[in-house]
């Protein structure tokens, strides 16, 4: 019996009778992080990191029963010993280490290996079998260094301020949005947010994460009341009503997909910033190597290509079917 198995409900641990990131209702779910394709509603109970829990509670509702653990703590569940280690994806995100009879498997959910200045930095966990994503599992994906990214963002924003244009930056509500607001120089101008992002900001601030001052976009907030503003908006919201109060805005989108010219053009934004909360090609390869694992299971993204590449490198790698979406190119979380 393997430590973890892949079922039509999620990743299952028979020794502990629990699931990791299940997509159909199960009695007991261990959750890597609060994004919607990993933390589904209607589970009998949830177990997540202390830092991930507040956002999950906010998203899943007050009725969700969420138990928490700190990073590095261990807990015995049936015949399995489980612990959580930082995945560097978003605040509170974790790789879940499961040990049964001395055999160690790690389910990493979504992760990135670079320090984004916001999330708890990724820690490699030694294991026998590693379950990895491969959202950007092709060698064409290589991220802009964090300091260069900051410079690019600030230059774009400042130029818009000088030209009297608002700046609209598309990013996901949990993780990417906060990372960007901590990356830019807040002295350039006011930072405005759409409701979905501001709600997440509130939750994160309450749990002690420092974010720059932001203003929620309400009916009476406009380019006139906040000249030179940087508006951080969820990708789907830029066609909503509020956008009309910020005419002539320069639009930008922040995503790993912006590495590809074709996708940049399809999105039709004025600028594309190459930034992701998933590992790039080098990050994925380094992460797999650092685990020392012999067996690798690839769950989502460019799975076939990444698994074949790992096999070429001598790993026993295979693709497994899951419902995880990774960073969907069309902007779903």
């Amino acid at each position: 019996m393997p430590v973890l198995g892949f079922t039509d409900r999620g990743i299952y641990c028979a020794a502990g009778d629990f699931y990791i990131d299940p997509w159909l209702p199960v009695p007991r779910a261990l959750i890597t992080h609060g994004h919607a394709d990993h933390a589904y509603p209607d589970m009998g109970s949830y177990l997540a990191t202390t830092a991930a829990a507040p956002v999950m509670q906010h998203r899943l509702g007050a009725d969700a029963r969420i138990d928490t653990m700190n990073y590095g703590e261990t807990r015995q569940i049936g015949d399995a010993t489980v612990s959580f280690y930082p995945a560097g994806h978003v605040p509170g995100s974790a790789q879940i280490r499961v040990c049964v009879n001395g055999e160690i498997w790690v389910a990493s959910g979504d992760y990135k290996t670079v320090d984004d200045g916001l999330s708890e930095p990724f820690e490699p966990v030694t294991c026998h079998a590693f379950i990895t994503e491969s959202t950007f599992g092709l060698p064409v994906f290589r991220w802009t260094a964090q300091d260069v990214l900051a410079q690019e963002l600030n230059t774009w924003w400042a130029a818009n301020v000088a030209a009297g244009r608002p700046s609209v930056l598309g990013a996901y509500a949990l993780g990417k949005a906060q990372r960007l607001m901590r990356t830019v120089n807040p002295d350039i101008g006011p930072i405005l947010t759409v409701t979905a992002i501001e709600n997440t900001n509130q939750v994160l601030r309450t749990q002690g994460i420092t974010l720059p001052d932001t203003v929620r976009i309400t009916e009476d907030v406009s380019a006139k009341t906040h000249p030179g503003a940087l508006i951080i908006a969820t990708p789907g919201s830029t066609s909503q009503h509020w956008a009309r109060r910020f005419p002539q805005a320069s639009s930008a989108f922040a995503s790993g997909w912006m590495a590809m010219r074709g996708v940049r053009r399809r999105r039709g934004a004025d600028r594309g910033f190459i930034v992701s909360d998933h590992a790039d090609w080098d990050g994925l390869n380094m992460a797999v190597k650092a685990t020392g694992a012999e067996r690798v299971f690839v769950t989502h993204g460019y799975t076939a290509q990444f698994a074949r590449h790992l096999c070429d490198q001598g790993y026993d790698a295979q693709v497994v079917a899951t419902n995880y979406a990774g960073d969907d190119v069309e902007g779903a979380e």
Binding site: L138, R265, R271, Y302, D312, V329
Partner: protein
């Protein structure tokens, strides 16, 4: 090349025409003169000769990046652009140097004279000296396919802005077979006589589509003729030499040798706009007959005999060496009729016949007979109209026949690349043959981005089998497929091949059982094949 890369980035990233034009105009005013000329050349499809095969570039790039060939190819498939793939997989440059655009183009020309080892060393060194954005453009120069989001129209507008010259004049100056090697900024842009180049064509006048011409006003103001289904061409006879240009500015003179005979009958200083048609016994053949000759540089005798071509003349643009485009259509047509009246009927040219009509309903009836004439529909031209440059609204309209359609079932989907990477956009469709679904066409276009997104999500959840990049899906969705023509094809399982197939509608209202059958397709083939 930094300046050119910055221009390219601005033009490529922005969706706003004003931003693109402003960036281009600024470049055309401030860049070194040689670089300006090359920029215009590149943006209008004139590129340096390819010095290296793409196969070699792939192998070298994979080698430098330390990638297995299959992984490089997978990456290329996803990115959809070789130049971009190479620029993305290579490690960052070790030793950055700055050279002008013209420097790199001349360097490439020199490279073509070296042996392979020297070429490879040169390319690798260049890659290692360029920032990724410049490296991408350098690769574009290497691979030759310099297609970017700048239309000739936009380029001309920017040039007009920076030089103060009239757009139509500049459009004319930029036509034809010049390259930055064979001309100069002064000769091409600043000199005043666009016909100094004897082969230079006039910009084609293109029509907008019309759904119902009733609103155009009094029928008497309009001339109608068939919209022939061939290749639009411009026949130029100056100083005893003839040239034949396609609408896409391809020189087609040698591809249609029969038309050289026209030089014996037409007077010097004549330019005619018309349609090249395969034509026998005073009847145009279907486009399928002409298709065999497309893409051939020279034509074997057998094909010449099977599908001889004529020029179906629409218009005359130059007469006795004078540009007469400003004269009214009726006057030009009279000149054209006179010219052709002096040509024997054995010569490969005809006057496109007028389709007379007293009211729009009569014309509607004529349009309905288009397919029987192997025509795509009707052209409606204002009798008083000048011959304009480019696609202009108001004077010329095309009234095309409705496409043929069938309802078909989606059975395979494949991800697109480039702009459509990660979206399932390339579909295979099937019709019923008894209770079996038989594939008969692929289609890639016609849905909105939102619809492609919906289909993509559905495909991910309803894949029954994967064959490499191709996914077999549960037969469920019915689409209305529109196409312009149908022909028998022994190469296809269904026995038919369609022309310009695309998705007209997603028929969410139709159950699977109501999709069309192979017998329906055969009926269409009998009627229109």
């Amino acid at each position: 090349m930094k300046q050119f890369a910055a221009l390219f980035a601005r033009v490529d990233e922005s969706t706003k025409t004003t931003v693109k034009v402003a960036a281009l105009a600024a470049y055309l005013s401030h860049a070194p003169v040689d670089d300006r000329l090359w920029a215009i050349g590149l943006f209008t499809g004139r590129r340096p000769k390819r010095a290296i095969t793409t196969t070699k570039l792939r192998v070298w790039a994979a080698e430098v990046a330390g990638l297995q060939d299959w992984l490089f190819d997978e990456s290329y498939h996803v990115v959809g652009d070789l130049a971009e793939t190479i620029s993305l997989v290579l490690p960052p440059p070790a030793d950055v140097v700055e050279h002008s655009l013209t420097h790199w183009i001349l360097w490439l020309k020199h490279l073509g004279t070296l042996d392979e080892d020297a070429r490879k060393a040169g390319i690798l060194a260049a890659w290692d000296s360029l920032e990724p954005d410049q490296r991408f453009l350098f690769n574009k120069l290497l691979t030759g396919g310099f297609r970017v989001g700048v239309s000739a129209k936009l380029m001309t507008r920017a040039l007009a802005k920076s030089t103060g010259q009239d757009e139509a004049t500049l459009t004319h100056k930029l036509m034809g077979k010049w390259t930055p090697d064979t001309t100069t900024w002064a000769a091409l842009i600043e000199a005043n006589d666009p016909t100094a180049d004897l082969s230079r064509p006039y910009p084609f006048y293109l029509a907008h589509g019309v759904d119902d011409p009733t609103d155009l006003g009094a029928p008497a103001d309009w001339h109608a003729e068939r919209k022939w289904d061939g290749i639009r061409g411009q026949y130029i006879l100056r100083s005893g030499t003839h040239h034949l240009w396609s609408r896409g500015e391809d020189l087609m003179t040698d591809r249609f040798p029969e038309l050289s005979a026209l030089a014996d009958y037409l007077p010097d200083g004549t330019v005619i706009d018309g349609e090249i048609l395969a034509f026998t016994d005073e009847t145009p053949l279907s486009f399928n007959a002409l298709q065999k000759r497309i893409g051939r540089k020279t034509v074997p005798k057998k094909i010449l005999a099977e599908a001889p071509v004529i020029l179906m003349a629409y218009d005359v643009l130059e007469h006795q060496g004078h540009d007469i485009r400003q004269q009214p259509f009726d006057a030009r047509r009279t000149i054209l009729r006179d010219l052709l009246g002096r040509v024997p009927t054995t010569a490969p040219i005809r006057l496109s016949p007028e389709v007379p009509f007293g009211d729009w309903d009569t014309l509607r009836t004529a349009r309905a007979q288009s397919r029987a004439h192997n025509a795509e529909g009707l052209m409606i031209k204002r009798r008083a109209s000048p011959y304009l440059a480019g696609r202009k609204r108001g004077d010329w309209w095309k009234w095309k026949v409705d496409p043929l359609t069938v309802d078909a079932v989606l059975i395979y989907a494949q991800a697109g690349h480039g702009r459509r990477a990660n979206l399932f956009t390339d579909y295979t469709f099937a019709v019923w043959d008894g209770d079996v679904l038989t594939p008969f066409t692929k289609a890639y276009s016609g849905l909105t981005d939102a619809e492609f997104g919906q289909v993509t999500a559905w495909v991910r959840k309803n894949t029954t089998q994967k064959f490499g990049p191709v996914r077999q899906v549960t037969p469920h969705h019915v689409f209305e497929i529109a196409f312009e023509g149908i022909q028998a094809s022994p190469r296809h399982k269904s026995g038919v091949a369609l022309r310009f197939p695309r998705m007209l509608r997603w028929r969410k209202d139709k159950p699977l059982s109501e999709a069309n059958t192979l017998a329906d397709l055969r009926d269409l083939l009998d009627m229109y094949g």
